[in-house]
């Protein structure tokens, strides 16, 4: 990842940046001193980028244990007069929301601090369990929300968001999304001015939402004021002909997609575009001004019809003569997923009765037969050397040996891939971060209702600290009958190996207190066992032992560092792993490539025997113990 601060030494204020890097750079130019977050795709690079600049610019940057704690830390620093940032993905906003709804009512106090919450949505759920639309939550929480449409605009808009936050003493949500956070382009930057703000809090007053009614009223009046400012915001603009036949209303990634769709259909002379960058409070008069004389309106946006409903409301209030509003509610834009040029082309073609063909019908037909007959989907799977492959292999053996219907709850991390098409599908109930323990704790109470299935829950180390801990304490306190397996791979691996309380270093790479999961669990009063994720035999035996006990919370910690992290640190293979083709039973067995499914294995198409792709094999050697014919050999590499 790029270090965004270095540019100033080269006196070169242009740099090719990822959307998230541009947001980080914009925040630095706005003078932030404090940033916190919890990793989550597509948001993680914001805090990572800021952490890289922490030392040089005397910032404080942390990976917090979860998004609520991150928001609280950043808010406290803002209340002390600093400019601060909190970053999270859409799911994280739900975690932080209890606090953030309260914070809207009190505001940030009188110390002139400012807080921007960057929330990265994931339309299409590329790397999420859902594609929830954060814009509703800004409305729900009575706080302003802005949404940039390009990497360059993200860099400018976040600076404006700090101005707005400081002026109105409220936090501002800046909504990003996968196609912005993970797009890159050249960014024209400003200078980062060194600042040394003094943090101070006022002990003579109380900032609290309690006695909420008058505060609610004040917030509503503040939002009215902000709406007036948004009506004149440079982030909202009309582009196109003076008397358009149709206007496309868009925001976020809809802006570049709409521009392109209009161009592809050659409609530049007749179709205009109303681009919105400030979405809440909704800039109603601005929209009325530009749309009142337009006969046909198409609203394009991602996921939910948020803008569309507010456009309809604004037009209803303006009482114009006959108008047609198209979008998700009319069925012209699908009610889910990302927006792209094709969706807009399709909607415009249908409304304006235009023909559009991206390529010849003959080519499309050939392409379709490739899709139907040739393509094989590339399901996600654990990396070669992943400790989870060993853990789930041992788990599978233990579950199979036990004759009862064991019920397994799962959680969010790389191990979630177990329920993907290429996984082993050993987890039966899987929801949000930390929910695995809470769900298992509930099931573990059902004995008196005739529930006799053993209950097991699986979570990772970062997830354990994020939201599993309260569930675990609940389970122990209420004497639930369950097993918790903690897959401790020493990183928040799914999102890029970020630090967490169990690793002994922080976001800025400094050594810090390491919270020992084993000691913590023992202190809570659980029965605790530890094993190595690659010790298949030992782990299987330990799971079987825990399954024999039929009361209380039993915990198994499976330790083994994430293989990608190990490789980064050690830069060499521990073993050179080979297949002895004399011993390999080939297709008669096929356990290694067919059931264990480490992607480093290949089936030799001529002999059916196993072979190992040298470039993919990390040399972990876990496969040696799963081969019934002892045909897999590991040799220690000469150093």
């Amino acid at each position: 990842m790029t270090t965004v601060t270095k540019v100033k030494q080269h006196n070169d204020l242009q740099k090719f940046l990822l959307g998230n890097e541009a947001l980080a750079r914009g925040a630095l130019e706005a003078g932030i001193s404090f940033a916190a977050g919890y990793p989550g795709t597509p948001s993680s690079e914001i805090i990572e980028t800021l952490a890289k600049s922490a030392k040089e610019l005397n910032l404080y940057v942390e990976w917090s244990t979860n998004e609520k704690v991150a928001a609280e830390g950043a808010a406290a620093a803002a209340i002390s007069g600093l400019r601060t940032l909190v970053a999270m993905k859409n799911a994280g906003l739900s975690v932080a929301l209890d606090f953030l709804t309260h914070l809207s009512l009190t505001g940030l106090g009188d110390q002139q601090g400012a807080l921007v919450a960057v929330v990265c949505d994931d339309p299409d759920a590329h790397s999420s369990g859902d594609e929830t639309d954060s814009r509703w939550l800004a409305k729900f929480a009575y706080t302003p929300l802005m949404e940039p449409s390009t990497v360059q605009e993200a860099h400018q808009m976040i600076q404006a968001a700090y101005g707005l936050s400081q002026k109105h003493r409220c936090y501002v949500i800046l909504r990003s999304y996968t196609r912005l956070s993970h797009a890159s382009s050249l960014v024209e930057m400003g200078e980062i001015r060194p600042s040394q703000p003094k943090a101070r809090t006022d002990p003579s007053s109380c900032l609290t939402p309690y006695l909420a009614k008058p505060k609610h009223d004040a917030v509503l009046r503040k939002l009215e004021q902000i709406e007036k400012e948004f009506d004149a915001s440079p982030f909202n603009k009309y582009l196109g002909p003076d008397t358009p036949k149709l206007v496309v209303v868009c925001s976020g990634s809809g802006v570049t997609s709409a521009t392109e769709a209009i161009e592809l259909l050659g409609l530049e002379e007749s179709v205009g575009m109303l681009k919105l960058g400030t979405l809440w409070p909704f800039p109603k008069s601005f929209v009325q001004r530009h749309l009142k004389n337009v006969a046909e309106i198409l609203v394009v946006e991602e996921v939910d019809p948020f803008v569309e409903l507010h456009v309809r409301e604004a037009l209803y209030d303006a009482k114009p003569s006959k108008q047609s509003v198209y979008g998700k509610l009319s069925g012209h834009i699908p009610g889910y997923g990302e927006i792209d040029p094709d969706r807009i082309v399709q909607a415009l073609s249908s409304i304006l009765k235009r023909d559009y063909q991206s390529r010849s019908a003959e080519y499309s037909k050939a392409a379709q037969s490739v899709v139907d007959d040739v393509l094989v989907s590339r399901g996600l799977t654990w990396c070669p050397g992943c400790p989870h492959r060993g853990s789930f292999w041992a788990l599978g053996k233990a579950l199979k040996a036990d004759k009862r219907d064991i019920y397994v709850t799962g959680d969010i991390g790389c191990y979630t891939l177990d329920v993907f098409p290429e996984g082993k599908c050993q987890m039966n109930l899987l929801h949000a971060m930390g929910s695995g323990v809470g769900l298992a704790a509930g099931l573990g109470q059902l004995g008196k209702f005739g529930y006799d299935q053993p209950v097991m829950s699986i979570c990772g180390d970062s997830t354990f600290f994020h939201a599993s801990l309260p569930g675990l304490i609940n389970a122990i306190y209420n004497k639930s009958n369950m097993i918790l397996v903690i897959l401790d791979n020493q990183a928040t691996a799914m999102t890029g190996f970020q630090a967490h309380p169990g690793v002994g270093y922080n976001a800025m790479g400094e050594p810090t207190n390491r919270i020992d999961i084993e000691n913590l669990c023992r202190a809570l009063g659980a029965m605790v066992t530890v094993s190595d994720a690659f010790d298949i035999k030992g782990t299987t035996a330990k799971i079987r032992e825990l399954l024999k006990v039929n009361e209380g919370v039993r915990i198994l910690i499976l330790r083994r560092v994430c293989e990608l992290l190990r490789m980064k640190r050690e830069k060499k293979k521990p073993l050179v792993v080979k297949v002895d083709t004399q011993k390999c039973k080939g297709e008669k067995c096929a356990i290694c490539y067919s059931a264990f499914r480490c992607p480093a294995f290949m089936k030799d198409t001529d002999t059916g025997k196993a072979s190992i792709r040298e470039e993919a094999c990390p040399g972990c050697g876990v496969c040696i113990s799963i081969c019934p014919s002892k045909a897999i050999i590991g040799e220690v590499q000469a150093s």
Binding site: H126, H182, D342, S360, V376
Partner: protein, 207 residues
């Protein structure tokens, strides 16, 4: 060199871990410095876990285009895996698309676990050629192994792309970018990889 089409839509694809994102960003940085408006959109999800990964690049003299290429509108496809080449062709290809592709398969897990068959390689290559206006098929994985650096396959592919002469880049510019991207020791090897890829394309006429 000017653009024959504007925007020029280039897709670099492969499987998680093959390094296609790195080469698209290198191309993006060079072209940005030359005054092109470049936007890259990366589709990777949980890419390190064997998934399909592609970067879509929009290169224009006029303005910044959005990161998503309209379906059927790719001009050039550079791919590190032949099945991925076909996946991208099916969605973004057209009669005139130019393809540079690795021919070494990376098997999806469904193939390893014998639930699906990997398409027969000769048929795969033929279909790539049928669906491309011009196609170069090279085994960059094999070449990288011969070089002794399996991970340099992406740079060999970049050399191949350079060899086609269809993107507005000069050898000197790419070499400069390699020197500033990699530490000195790795840079030499990657410069060799770049040259290998370029020569391989120049030696083989497009089919």
């Amino acid at each position: 060199m000017s653009l024959n089409v504007d925007p020029l839509n280039l897709i670099v694809c492969g499987v998680g871990g093959q390094g296609n994102i790195l080469i698209s960003r290198m191309i993006g940085r060079i072209l940005s410095r030359k005054g092109y408006h470049v936007t890259i959109g990366e589709t990777f999800g949980a890419a390190q876990r064997g998934g399909a990964v592609h970067s879509s690049m929009r290169i224009s003299r006029k303005r910044y285009y959005g990161p998503l290429i309209p379906k059927g509108r790719a001009h050039i496809i550079a791919s590190l895996e032949p099945l991925e080449t076909l996946r991208i062709l099916a969605a973004y290809g057209n009669e005139n698309v130019m393809t540079v592709t690795n021919t070494q398969p990376v098997y999806p897990v469904a193939v390893l676990s014998r639930r699906r068959e990997y398409p027969e390689l000769a048929m795969l290559k033929k279909t790539v050629m049928t669906l491309s206006g011009a196609a170069w098929l090279v085994n960059v994985t094999q070449m990288a192994l011969e070089l002794g650096t399996p991970i340099a396959a992406n740079i060999i592919l970049l050399g191949g792309l350079l060899g086609t002469g269809k993107i507005p880049l000069s050898s000197a510019e790419v070499e400069g970018e390699i020197r500033s991207t990699f530490p000195a020791s790795a840079a030499e090897l990657n410069l060799k990889a770049l040259e290998m890829g370029r020569e391989a394309i120049l030696a083989s006429a497009s089919s």
